[in-house]
Amino acid sequence: MEHCDIENLSAFIDGELPEESAVHVRAHLEHCPSCRALADDFAALKDGFAALETKPPDTLAPGVMYKIGLGAELPRVRRVITSLVGVAACLIAVLIIARNLPASHPLNGAAGGGALESGVENADMGDMPNMPAPEAGGAGMPGGSIFSGAGQPGSHGMDDTSGFPPKADAEAPAAVPVPVPDGNITGGFSPETEITEDGAVPPPQNGAPAMERDPEPSPSPGEPSPSDEIEVSPSAFPPDDGSP
């Protein structure tokens, strides 16, 4: 007895065989146990494929919708914006500080020696060579009152240079620890972030001490910056070869 053409048998199982051919296959299967068994195996394969079906992760569709800007993960966007606002506030504060620095401050390269003398005179603070600049008497932004005494020996505030250890290379005082006055600043900035004279903010360093009131840890150098996460606008995806 001749057996079925296997291509036809396979197509028959799929329901893709034209009816006139399907009639012949159906009739043959009734009398040929061998072909019937093969048809059963093919059918079992279909069952196997059905059993292979895996539920996609729950995050697939929301992730797609989020990436094209239609998703509901707005809190994350808000977090990024909040972080950027915080960084901007810090930069403004640093610019204010830099502008108000007295001529005798060690950050003004030519006056390093005078600052050293001032620090030596202050016996109370001289015992803590690594102490950061004194914290402002409140949680607000650093205002003029905090730094108004700058340049007056013996007063409190940024003029008290005993907190800065004397540096041999006074001609290159490139960086200074900057206090962060408000714990609401959440990302990209730590209290020990160093600001160079020209206002550039270097990336945070490993091992920098954490700010006590900082509710969220500052990102490590390997983590994406807030700016990396802002790609939620559909316009960020120009049409490409996805067209049919």
Binding site: E2, H3, C4, D5, I6, E7, N8, L9, S10, A11, D14, E16, S21, H24, V25, H28, P33, S34, C35, R36, A37, L38, D40, D41, F42, A44, L45, K46, D47, G48, F49, A50, A51, L52, E53, T54, K55, P56, P57, L60, A61, G63, V64, M65, K67, I68, L70, P234, F237, P238, P239, D240, D241, G242, S243, P244
Partner: protein
């Protein structure tokens, strides 16, 4: 936008499963699925309705999977096997398998990974994406006859692997059929 959201919800399961069959691991399947839908979103404006959204979406899926396979091949992960002499796992180290559906599915998954890409592609589009022969032919730009031929050969290869790994009973009529017909040869034409 609601339409696109609906498209994603409706097809995410099948797109994900097609990707899973092609790339073999859930993480890559997830990434590929997202890539497919993002490409679909970007290409929505250019879609002119010359084919159904359904077919178009699976074309994107196939292309994404093909790109993935090419990258994998460059890394040395090519799948290559002869149509009649399939490199099968040593059944001595396989646990006793039954005909239970779950066991069959598990064995089938392993067997699928050993199929040549062009066979795996066709059988996956048929069984997982549930596309018709015509849709597969259009999508892959091949003849319907080629779809039919590849499907039957893919099934024979899968069946042969499952028999050798003990997923079909030894005394099944299919084995007798195989013995008579050399496991995939033509037995005649109706």
């Amino acid at each position: 936008m609601d339409e696109f959201s609906e498209l994603v919800r409706t097809h995410q399961g099948r797109v994900y499963n097609v990707c899973l069959r092609f790339c073999g691991n859930p993480d890559d399947a997830f990434d590929l699925s997202q890539e497919v839908f993002l490409k679909a979103w970007r290409g929505m404006e250019g879609f002119r309705g010359e084919s159904s959204v359904y077919t178009w979406l699976y074309r994107l899926t196939v292309n994404a999977c093909a790109d993935f396979a090419r990258k994998k091949a460059r890394r040395g992960g090519t799948v290559s096997l002869d149509e009649t002499q399939l490199p099968l796992p040593d059944a001595r180290f396989e646990p006793a398998l039954t005909l239970e559906r779950k066991e069959l599915a598990r064995a089938l998954e392993e067997a699928l990974k050993r199929l040549p890409p062009e066979y795996r592609q066709v059988v996956t589009l048929r069984e997982t994406a549930e596309l018709s022969y015509k849709e597969i032919a259009k999508l892959l730009e091949i003849e319907e006859g080629t779809v039919k031929s590849r499907l039957s050969r893919a099934r024979l290869a899968l069946r042969e692997m499952l028999i050798k790994t003990g997923n079909y009973p030894e005394d099944s009529a299919s084995n007798r059929h195989k013995a008579n017909g050399k496991g995939g040869g033509r037995h005649g034409t109706l």
